[in-house]
Symmetry: C2
Subunit: 129 residues, 2 copies
DNA sequence: CGGAATCCCCGGCGATACTG
DNA sequence: CAGTATCGCCGGGGATTCCG
């Protein structure tokens, strides 16, 4: 199993890599941010238009949806296509990169769902102790 | 591939599940928070004492290390053992649950590392466009 | 050694209003 | 339809200090 060895940490330091500028962490941030994972799950079902996404994620605001989509688009995970119709319409879909990303995120989410009983039990024990 | 279907979203709404209280998201937060992943990677190499972790993560503060460890301990991912020696010593290690969690996180991190050239290229194109 | 307590700042995020 | 602009709060997280 890959681990953080002294030499690995030394390598990071030598290259000025820290948690704030680490590119890997920047990608992991898509996982931790509030909406991106849910957006990707919806897009896993096929391309969606802006307002379709808005309706699919009940509590998201237009502002946050736009911002989240922009971040994902910038990293090449989501593709944005504008159709010059009237009224204008925009389609969002997973790129190839996004199609590789999503299953790994879902693997983590599935693990969390499966492990939830043990996690909740641990929390309960911790809170009572 | 699992997706977010209308019925799945309806199920969430019916059970009052939203991004703020979703237990799965609470677990995913360990991935996105600043330090937990790095801590888990270090602990993947075996049990470590508090100050060993402090030295292994060059820029972390005692405050954040303590807080991150507590969160992971609460979810049953990390085990904390106190030895009544002088001076006092505390050992942190992965639980069985944590040993199941770590490889899935690393799978994501490895994907990010492997995909980094394409991601950086996408960012570059986005920022220039 | 392994923390806990306090102070403070910055930025994520929501609400609201406006636009091509 | 698909956004942008502006305001304001509140909480995550760093720096510092103190403790058993």
């Amino acid at each position: 199993m890959p681990v953080v060895t002294e030499t690995r940490v030394d390598f990071w330091q030598a290259h000025g890599i820290n948690p704030d500028n680490c590119p890997v962490r920047q990608v992991l941030d898509h996982v931790s941010a509030k909406w991106p994972v849910l957006i990707l799950m919806v897009l896993g079902g096929g391309p969606r238009r802006f307002n379709e996404l808005l309706r699919a994620l009940p509590d998201i605001s237009k502002r946050m949806l736009t911002q989240s989509l922009r971040n994902l688009e910038r990293d090449g995970i989501v593709r944005r296509e504008v159709f010059d119709t009237k009224p204008p319409s925009v389609s969002y879909s997973l790129t190839e990169l996004g199609q590789g990303f999503l299953p790994r995120v879902l693997a983590l989410a599935d693990w969390a769902e499966t492990s939830m009983p043990r996690i909740l039990a641990a929390r309960d024990a911790y809170d009572r102790g």
